[in-house]
């Protein structure tokens, strides 16, 4: 296990107050299938390199399994599968972001971690309605800093909502 970077959990002092400020702040950005996403830095505990994941049977496909994080057993979710994308081949840059949400630790597999970015309220737009097919509940907003567009995720909602693509249910995979 290699710890690429350990991210300090300190609130950013320069968070502007006022409208839309609830989503402004520091974000850890990462890539999934060429698209860039952002994740509130306060929710991130650490970033670790890819390691062997023990699959847990009869779980939704996006639930890749569990890993041993220094003696703790934590579940790992593949964000690509969660969003209904195809599985990516594992590369040197594939890594697991360990997030801490609602007292639970959880790992999320992403293609590549990019940077830590301070996004001010002016650079954030509300999540657009993308039609009935796309659930935008877990999108905090869209960051447009530095001329690039990043989807800012509410990771707690992402992890607690069901699959975008239905996973095999217990009943249809029963024996025989």
């Amino acid at each position: 296990m290699s710890t690429i970077s350990q991210v300090a959990k300190r609130p950013s002092p320069g968070t502007p107050e006022g409208q839309g400020s609830s989503v402004a702040g520091k974000y850890l950005t990462f890539f999934l299938k060429g698209e860039e996403y952002g994740l509130e830095i306060l929710k991130v505990q650490e970033i670790i390199g890819m390691m062997t994941i023990t699959p847990v049977p009869r779980m939704p496909e996006s639930m890749r399994g569990v890993i041993n994080l220094r003696g703790k057993v934590i579940p790992v979710v593949d964000l690509r599968l969660k969003f209904g994308m195809e599985v990516a081949e594992q590369t040197d840059e594939t890594c697991i972001i360990v997030v801490q949400a609602q007292g639970m630790e959880m790992g999320i597999v992403v293609d590549r971690v990019s940077e830590v970015l301070d996004i001010i309220a002016d650079d954030i737009e509300d999540a657009p309605a993308l039609g009935a097919d796309v659930d935008t509940d877990y999108i905090l907003g869209i960051g447009k800093a530095e001329g690039r567009v990043r989807l800012l995720l509410d990771i707690v909602k992402v992890l607690s909502t069901n699959e975008v693509v239905d996973a095999p249910t217990v009943s249809d995979s029963a024996d025989e």
């Binding site: 062997t52 023990t54 699959p55 847990v56 049977p57 009869r58 779980m59 639930m63 399994g65 569990v66 890993i67 041993n68 003696g71 703790k72 057993v73 934590i74 579940p75 639970m104 630790e105 959880m106 992890l159 607690s160 217990v170 995979s173 029963a174 024996d175 025989e176």
Partner: protein
């Protein structure tokens, strides 16, 4: 302890025991006590200590009492008594902040009692006794348990300490049940109430002090042989203990910030305690004589080893010699008989003098320690199984690694033993239960415990408590017949309930047995048919029928009593045992009684597991659930159309569950004749799990899978394996249910079998 200190202690004890029995008009005796205290004070090494201050103040108080100064006699006497108790504690134990505070409080109480102004405690005392005057005292009684200026830490200490005493008192009271004349036990109870009263007074918890005070008065009458600790008096004492327990709980709740109400019946109890006879409570005298520990001679006579006249004669002429010695020399009894009698006497007189010195540690710290040690063990096995170490080329390294491993093992054993507690306390609670139930249901039952020194994980003790209560209730209510019926059946009038514990392999077995009616197979079958739990009783073994009583809402009791029979209970038992990863078996014979056998792992922290391979995956099956594993001969396999696969093993037919299919594992062995079948059973259902091979037995630290994944079907948790990867622990019962083999396997098989 130095001789000098021992002497001081003796004096203090003497003063404590005398002061409450002396009245204001016994000046002379009071003066004697005063001079005794004076002498004790003079013997003290360190004149500046708190002890010296206490003794000094007590002596002044004693003088005031002896010379009839204008003081509130009872108040001052109580304050002195409190001082004495604290002084005793100071002398016999190490000075810690708690004792120091108590000593300071005792000094304050004494000081305020001295100059004619009655202390707070004394004032309350007066209020309680005359139950009029001071409305302030009444108001205090209105439930504001905690004083406004309480120190939470001191309170917590106080609660823990009181609970200790309460438990001791309970044990002693129970031993008084069998031997109401055990003075030592009476004293233990008395001391417990007394100390609780004293401490409660200091920390200002008036209701506790009040109950303890009145209970103490009752006990002092017992101690003085005015009344005996039997019947109503014994009940009253036990009720006081219960009330104190409730108060402790209320206190703890209050400390946690909850609003508490007066525990029910407190007023009633206080009234009863104040004047038991007025409420018609008697000791319903059973046996004559008010001997304490039976005398040696009596034991010999009772056992028929010697004649009473001979013993009396020897006793009269024993002179300086000990009676036993005299008896042997004069040939009245043989040395062996005397030795045996002495042992009996000692056993009767024994109480828990085996106090071990101990330190209280918070359980969460202990749990963390155990967790970390668990990790250390795994880390250690990762090192010792490392390719470099096992390659064999580095002898020196191997030696060092082995040495480390040995130390780690030892550390593990030690930490595990730290959270082991004997079952004794649990068993004692059950003794109390049997006694109460026996009285309620008018059935006499003897309660016999064995192996109460058997130790299990302290986290399990609390969970084990409920199932035991249910089983013993059942034994008392449904098992044991009323005395008349027993007599008619030719059984002894008094029923027996056994509770025993012992080690078996790496398990602890707890057995509850009664010699009552036994389970009624017909009635259970009838009920199960009516409730649709089974379709027919064909092919059902006795034990399979008996396990039906663990179904929720199953009760064959003809009538609901206030003890049991509402149909809840046995399913609770089953659930609790399951949560302890244990198993329960029932054996019963009509008319002879029922035995419940609970098999439990010694600790929940470690799981004994069998590591199995299925394709590329490895799973851990708890060893406790495995009855055996084998490779089936091709001829032993059957498939029944649409009913799945079966295997015949030792004339037993059971369904096969293909783990690889259930868990969607690719690359696993598909032919049972090439793989291995692991038989798991939960008492009712037997199934064979198909795996590739067994990789070995291993102790693992079970962990939850964390987060939303916590409820993975068929998986009870995870564990870190030797190579650092996570292995999943299987839950065989859930797997059986998952594979659709739930319901009654035997019955399904019965359907499948050719008629």
């Amino acid at each position: 302890m130095t001789q000098r200190n021992e002497w001081i202690l003796e004096t203090i004890k003497l003063v404590s025991s005398e002061i409450r029995t002396l009245g204001p008009d016994e000046r002379e005796a009071l003066s004697d006590l005063e001079s005794a205290l004076d002498a004790a004070e003079a013997e003290l090494d360190d004149r500046t200590s708190q002890l010296a201050e206490l003794l000094g103040l007590s002596r002044q108080g004693m003088r005031a009492l002896a010379h009839g100064a204008q003081v509130d006699f009872d108040g001052l006497a109580d304050a002195i008594l409190g001082g004495m108790v604290t002084a005793e504690q100071l002398l016999t134990s190490e000075l810690d902040p708690m004792r120091a505070t108590l000593a300071r409080l005792a000094c304050d109480a004494l000081r305020s009692a001295l100059p004619a102004a009655p202390s707070r405690e004394a004032r309350e005392e007066v209020g309680a006794r005359t139950a009029d005057v001071e409305p302030v005292a009444e108001e205090e009684m209105a439930f504001n348990l905690l004083p406004d200026d309480h120190d939470p830490e001191l309170m917590a200490e106080f609660i823990t300490e009181c609970r200790d005493y309460i438990q001791k008192a309970e044990v002693a009271l129970l031993s008084l049940e069998t031997n109401p004349d055990d003075d030592e036990a009476v004293n233990t109870v008395f001391r417990a109430f007394h100390t609780i009263k004293g401490t409660a007074g200091f920390v200002g918890i008036d209701p506790v002090a009040k109950v303890a005070h009145h209970a103490e008065s009752l006990l002092s009458r017992i101690r003085d042989h005015e009344i005996r600790c039997t019947g109503g008096y014994a009940d009253l004492s036990l009720r006081s203990v219960d009330a104190l327990k409730d108060l402790m709980q209320a206190l703890q709740d209050a400390l946690a910030g909850d609003v508490v109400e007066t525990p029910e019946g407190l007023e009633d109890l206080l009234r009863l305690l104040a004047d038991p006879e007025a409420a018609g409570i008697t000791g319903e005298p059973s046996v004559d004589g008010d001997l304490a520990v039976p005398r040696l001679g009596d034991i010999l006579v009772a056992e028929g080893r010697a004649g009473r006249a001979d013993v009396e004669a020897t006793a009269a002429g024993q002179g300086e010699r000990l009676l036993g010695e005299a008896l042997v020399q004069s040939g009245v009894a043989s040395a062996g008989d005397v030795a045996r009698a002495l042992r009996t006497q000692k056993r009767l007189a024994a109480d828990d003098r085996t106090a071990e010195s101990s330190v209280r540690v918070r359980t969460d710290r202990l749990d963390r320690l155990i967790n970390i040690v668990g990790e250390l063990v795994i880390a250690d096995s990762m090192v010792s199984q490392d390719a470099v170490v096992i390659s064999g080329g580095h002898l020196d390294l191997v030696r060092k690694v082995n040495h480390t491993s040995k130390i780690v093992r030892e550390l593990q054993d030690l930490t595990m033993s730290m959270r082991m507690v004997p079952l004794k306390a649990t068993f004692q609670k059950m003794a109390r239960l049997v006694r109460d139930l026996g009285q309620k249901s008018k059935k006499a039952a003897e309660f016999i415990t064995e192996g109460e020194e058997t130790e299990i994980d302290r986290n399990m003790v609390d969970i084990l408590n409920d199932p035991l209560v249910h089983m013993i209730r059942n034994a008392m209510d449904h098992g044991i017949e009323p005395p008349e019926e027993r007599e008619w059946l030719g059984k002894p009038r008094k029923g027996s309930v056994w509770l025993s514990a012992y080690y078996q392999g790496s398990n602890v077995v707890v057995e509850v047995r009664d010699d009552g009616r036994g389970l009624n197979r017909e009635k259970i079958v009838e009920k199960a048919l009516a409730r649709g739990l089974i379709e027919s009783e064909k092919g059902l073994s006795d034990s399979a029928v008996f396990t039906l009583i663990f179904e929720p809402g199953f009760s064959t009791a003809e009538q609901v009593t206030d003890i049991s029979g509402r149909g809840v209970g046995m399913d609770v038992v089953k659930r609790a045992i399951d949560s302890l990863r244990g198993r329960i078996e029932i054996a019963s014979a009509a008319g002879e009684g029922t035995t419940f056998k609970i098999r439990l792992p010694i600790t929940l922290a470690l799981t004994d597991g069998m590591l199995v391979k299925v394709g590329r995956e490895r799973y851990i099956i708890p060893t406790l659930n495995i009855s055996m594993s084998f490779r089936p001969a091709p001829g032993a396999l059957f498939t029944v159309a649409d009913r799945g696969e079966l295997v015949m093993f030792r004339d037993d037919l059971m369904p096969i569950i293909r783990l690889h299919r259930l868990f969607h594992v690719v690359g696993a062995v598909e032919d049972p004749a090439l793989g291995l079948l692991v038989i798991v059973d939960d008492g009712r259902n037997r199934c064979a799990l198909l795996v590739d091979e067994l990789l070995g037995q291993q102790q693992v630290v079970a962990k939850s899978l964390g987060g939303s994944i916590g409820k993975a079907p068929g998986i009870s948790g995870g564990a870190i394996l030797g190579d650092g990867r996570v292995g999943l622990i299987l839950d065989p019962f859930a797997i059986i249910a998952l594979a659709g083999q739930g319901g009654n396997t035997n019955e399904r098989i019965a359907h499948l079998m050719p008629a």
